[in-house]
Structure formats: structure tokens, C-alpha cells
């Protein structure tokens, strides 16, 4: 019964510049990774810890099993907050060879953490200090010699510990709406880079695989944002982006593809790779696009603004809310407006707007009741399944929970998960 743990727990002491591998003790085995991480968060509260991990099904053929997490104290909510590690970063977190990573203390000098196949290296980040998240990702991939390395990094906003800071995943905006990017900045941790070439085993591989195939057969395979929208007022983002849309991209193992790659520095119809080096952006946050559209922005200006925010390491959703009322078109003016946001303070986690509760951010659409909303989020992170997929695909939560038995030899239900969280935070 090991909840598909994959390797030891890594404890990184940034102050001492050391890393230590610790076997998962029995207490932590009492729960899958996020509840265990919450328990560690509590135990190490005095070290202001930042934790990364994945879910039970992350990295498998379970639909949308892309999800990992980052957990830390949010300077804007004052409590622990969770942000999703999606796209390919959650799966690489699992394959990095560590079940969970606990990063404590602050580093005297800028560093980045390179996790690969069960090896943890703290690498000097002074050459990339001050760089935006795109240049940071480029530099780390170039230094390590591989383009498939997943880079969770902060830009100038994170380094400035801005309330609007958010970590980016590779070149794209993440669902960090709780300023965990600022926590990274406070720790002098410029990035966490992830890559592993391992294999993930299931307890009963055939049963697990066959069940996931059945679930995938019953899953929708939609593209674009409209199908994950929160309601009629959200719709129309796809049509708005269409003139710029190049292709849709899935996160790891997701049968849908809400992420939309837009090109504005090159004709979106250009399919080859010989042209412009940086032709556009992958839009990953429909809420950001929505704020800007509602504020009267044109799609191109809005996409440029989202790119600038992602590069600066600003949460595009909260940043877009700040910028929505002053639509811009000129790239220079957009850049200046985003730069002005970098040090900005006070934009709170938008609670009370229908979503965002407990440790979870507002990404998951409202579910009728707060209890149900919390249940979905808890389950999503424990399972490692994208919450957006979970609530919009029509795939039953119970069917996904049942996968835990062939996956890891454990029976997990929603009530049990709630208890794990309650216990961990007690």
C-alpha cells in the first residue's frame, strides 16, 4: 500500500545548501501525497516550506492524469495554498524520482533545483537572476542539454516577491493564483527543473490499463476553452481567439485540449518551424482572456499582454483583472503596463467570486455547493487528475477513484480523502 509513491522524499535545506533523501515513514504512508504534504507543511511550518509532489494516478493512462502540485504559505491568503503542476510538469514530477520534495529555508544565493531520476542538484542561478521565465526556461534547457525538461520558474515579479507573482511552467502561465511564485522568490529559488526517464508501475497493470482504456473511450475529446467555461458569460473565448489560433494542446494524457496556441508574430496558418523563433503564446488561462475581453481588449493585444505577464512571472488571471479596464494594442505600451504591475501589491486571491476556497485556488468552476467544490478539488489532487477535466468531462469521480485499487492496491473514496485532509491539517 504505497499510493504509487515513486522514490523517497527529498528534503532540500536551502539555507545550508544541502539535500537529503528520507524514506517515506509509516505516518506519511497513511495518506497519498497531498495530505502527506500538508502534514509535512505543518510539521515544518517554522521553515516556511515549499512542497512539490504528484497524485496517485499522475503519469499514467488515466485520463488527464497530468496533475501534480505545489504547496506553500501564500502571502496573499495568509495560509497554505495549493497550485497545480499541469501540462507535462506533474508527470515529470512523478518521474523525477521523488515522491515529494520539501524545500525549507531561504537560500543565501540564487539557486535552482534540478531533479532528475532520483538525483537532486542545487545549481547556481546567478546567471539567470533577473531573467524572465522564457529566458530562464531557455537557459536551463540549454545548460542541461534537453528541451523536454520541465521548468517551473519565476520571473522578475517572483524575484520582487510581488503579490501578483506566479510561477510559470516552461513558457506558459500556470494556475498559481496564490503568489507561490513570490514564495519561491523569497527563498531565492529561481526554478525547479524536472526530468526523469523511469517507468511507473501499477499494482495490477493489466486491470488498471484496461479500465483506463474504457474510461478514455467514454471521455470527450474536445478542443478549446468553451467546453470548460463556467457558464454562458464565459463562452465565446474560442471565437475571439480564433483569428490567432494555431493549434490546441493537451496537457499530459488529457483527451481534451483546452490550451490554445496562438500566433501573432507570424501567420497562425504557418505550420513549419523554420520561421519566427517566438511566434506567440500558449493560452492556458481562459479566465485571464475573459477579463481582458470583458475590458474591451482586442485578442491580439490581450495575448501580447498575457505573454508579457507570463514572462514576467505575473499571474495572468489576477494581472488581467488589474489591466482589464485599460485596453491597449501597442506592444511597447503593453510591455510598459505589465512592467508597472510587476511590483504591485494587494491584488487578492479572488475569493467570494464563486470559487476559491480552503487551500485551493479559483481555477475549478463552481460546483453548486462549496462542499462539492472542495470534494472535487481534494480528489483531483489526490488522484493527480486535472480538476477542470474532472468537472467538465462527464467522467464519474467514483470511476476514477476506483482506479486506485489496480493502480496502487488501495481503496480510496471521497469521504476517506476528506478525513485524510482533516487529519493532516489537525
Amino acid at each position: 500500500m504505497d499510493f504509487m509513491y515513486y522514490g523517497d522524499i527529498l528534503i532540500v535545506d536551502l539555507e545550508a545548501g544541502t539535500t537529503e533523501e528520507v524514506e517515506i515513514d509509516e505516518a506519511w504512508r497513511a495518506g497519498p501525497v497531498l495530505p502527506a504534504a500538508l502534514e509535512l507543511f505543518r510539521r515544518h511550518a517554522q521553515d516556511n516550506p515549499l512542497l512539490l509532489g504528484s497524485g496517485i494516478l499522475t503519469g499514467t493512462t488515466a485520463p488527464a492524469s497530468c496533475l501534480g502540485f505545489v504547496l506553500g504559505a501564500s502571502q496573499i491568503t495568509g495560509g497554505p495554498a495549493v497550485a497545480p503542476l499541469d501540462m507535462f510538469a506533474g508527470a515529470e514530477m512523478k518521474l523525477s524520482g521523488f515522491s515529494m520534495v520539501l524545500i525549507k529555508g531561504n537560500s543565501p544565493d540564487p539557486v535552482y533545483l534540478w531533479l532528475h531520476d532520483g538525483v537532486a542538484d542545487l545549481v547556481d542561478a546567478s546567471p539567470i537572476t533577473g531573467k524572465d521565465t522564457w529566458r530562464t526556461c531557455d537557459a536551463i534547457r540549454e545548460e542541461m542539454g534537453e528541451q523536454l525538461i520541465q521548468v517551473v520558474s519565476i520571473g522578475p515579479a517572483g524575484e520582487a516577491k510581488s503579490d501578483l507573482a506566479s510561477f510559470s511552467i516552461n513558457y506558459w502561465g500556470s494556475g498559481d493564483n496564490a503568489a507561490l511564485g513570490a514564495l519561491m522568490g523569497a527563498k531565492n529559488l529561481k526554478a525547479v527543473a524536472l526530468r526523469g526517464l523511469g517507468m511507473i508501475d501499477a499494482e495490477d497493470p493489466e486491470e488498471f490499463y484496461n479500465r483506463t482504456m474504457d474510461l478514455l473511450r467514454g471521455s470527450p475529446s474536445k478542443k478549446g476553452f468553451d467546453w470548460v467555461s463556467r457558464g454562458p458569460e464565459d463562452e465565446g473565448i474560442d471565437a475571439w481567439l480564433k483569428p490567432l489560433a494555431h493549434r490546441h494542446r493537451s496537457c499530459f494524457a488529457c483527451p481534451c485540449a483546452c490550451n490554445t496556441f496562438v500566433k501573432y508574430n507570424e501567420d497562425p496558418a504557418v505550420m513549419g518551424s523554420d520561421g519566427v523563433q517566438e511566434p506567440g503564446l500558449m493560452v492556458t488561462n481562459p479566465a485571464a482572456a475573459l477579463w481582458l475581453r470583458q475590458g474591451g481588449w482586442g485578442a491580439e493585444g490581450a495575448c501580447r499582454a498575457m505573454e508579457a505577464m507570463t514572462r514576467a512571472g505575473i499571474d495572468a488571471v489576477r494581472g488581467a483583472r488589474e489591466m482589464s479596464t485599460g485596453p491597449l494594442e501597442d506592444p511597447t505600451e503593453i510591455a510598459a503596463a505589465v512592467e508597472a504591475l510587476t511590483g504591485s501589491a494587494g491584488a487578492a486571491w479572488p475569493r467570494g467570486e464563486g470559487a476559491g476556497s480552503g487551500i485551493f485556488g479559483p481555477r475549478t468552476p463552481p460546483q453548486g455547493s462549496e462542499d462539492r467544490w472542495l470534494e472535487v478539488n481534494r480528489a483531483a489532487y489526490v488522484l493527480g487528475i486535472c480538476p477542470l477535466f474532472l468537472v467538465t468531462s462527464g467522467v464519474e469521480l467514483s470511476e476514477l477513484l476506483e482506479l486506485c485499487l489496480p493502480a496502487a492496491g488501495v481503496e480510496v473514496d471521497a469521504g476517506g480523502i476528506k478525513e485524510m485532509f482533516d487529519r493532516a491539517r489537525a
Binding site: F88, L197, M213, A253
Partner: protein, 117 residues
């Protein structure tokens, strides 16, 4: 019969790699599949899918899909000579026959980007 690719349908989910890896290794990984998602130029939004067979490589790049004989590919680079051995890291596609399954990548692809012909 072989697996072919409609590259523009692909959304880069990597489920085909996972399914193929499972068929070879009974575990989940993206390191040994015969079908390979190419996603190395992320910033350009560029990606494609390739399938390795004993005789050629079916390359589905966004600009077009084509089968390329392994020899022709080698000519683009330097030659290993007649003594060069195929390496075992990636098996050529066997249409999942060794596992007694229908072609798994085709079955799993949510976007119908892979098909048999």
C-alpha cells in the same frame, strides 16, 4: 497494414506513447515506445508524431505526413555503415501483435490522429 498519422489532429497528449510503452514494458513511460511524440520545439507550438517500423519511419509533421526509409534518413546525417546494428532501445512497431492486442496507440488516441492503413 501500418500506423499512420494525421498530424494536425494531434494535440500532444502523449497517450499513444504511454500505450505503446505499456504494450512493450507493462509499465508507464515514454522512453521505449515505437510511436514517438515530437515536442521539442515548444515555444513554437510545433509538434509531430512518428512511428518506427522495421523498414522505415512514418513521420507526421505539421507540414505533412510521409514515410521515410531508414536509409534515406541516415543519408541526411552520416552513415553508420553496413555493420551498424539497430539498437534495442526502441522496438519497431509490431502493431501490438506481440502483446496479442489491437494496435493500442490507435485505440487510445482521443483525437483520432492515428489510424491504420
Amino acid at each position: 497494414m501500418r500506423v499512420k498519422v494525421k498530424p494536425l489532429e494531434c494535440t500532444g497528449c502523449a497517450l499513444c506513447e504511454l500505450a505503446c510503452g505499456y504494450h512493450w514494458d507493462e509499465a508507464f513511460s515514454m522512453i521505449s515506445s515505437s510511436v514517438m511524440l515530437y515536442r521539442g520545439e515548444e515555444k513554437k507550438g510545433y509538434m509531430g508524431v512518428m512511428v518506427k517500423t522495421p523498414e522505415d519511419l512514418f513521420i507526421g509533421r505539421p507540414e505533412g505526413a510521409t514515410a521515410m526509409k531508414l536509409g534515406e534518413l541516415q543519408k541526411e546525417g552520416a552513415s553508420g555503415g553496413a555493420s551498424a546494428k539497430p539498437i534495442l532501445i526502441r522496438e519497431a512497431c509490431d502493431l501490438c501483435e506481440s502483446a496479442g492486442l489491437e494496435p493500442q496507440c490507435v485505440a487510445i488516441c482521443p483525437q483520432e490522429a492515428l489510424y491504420l492503413e
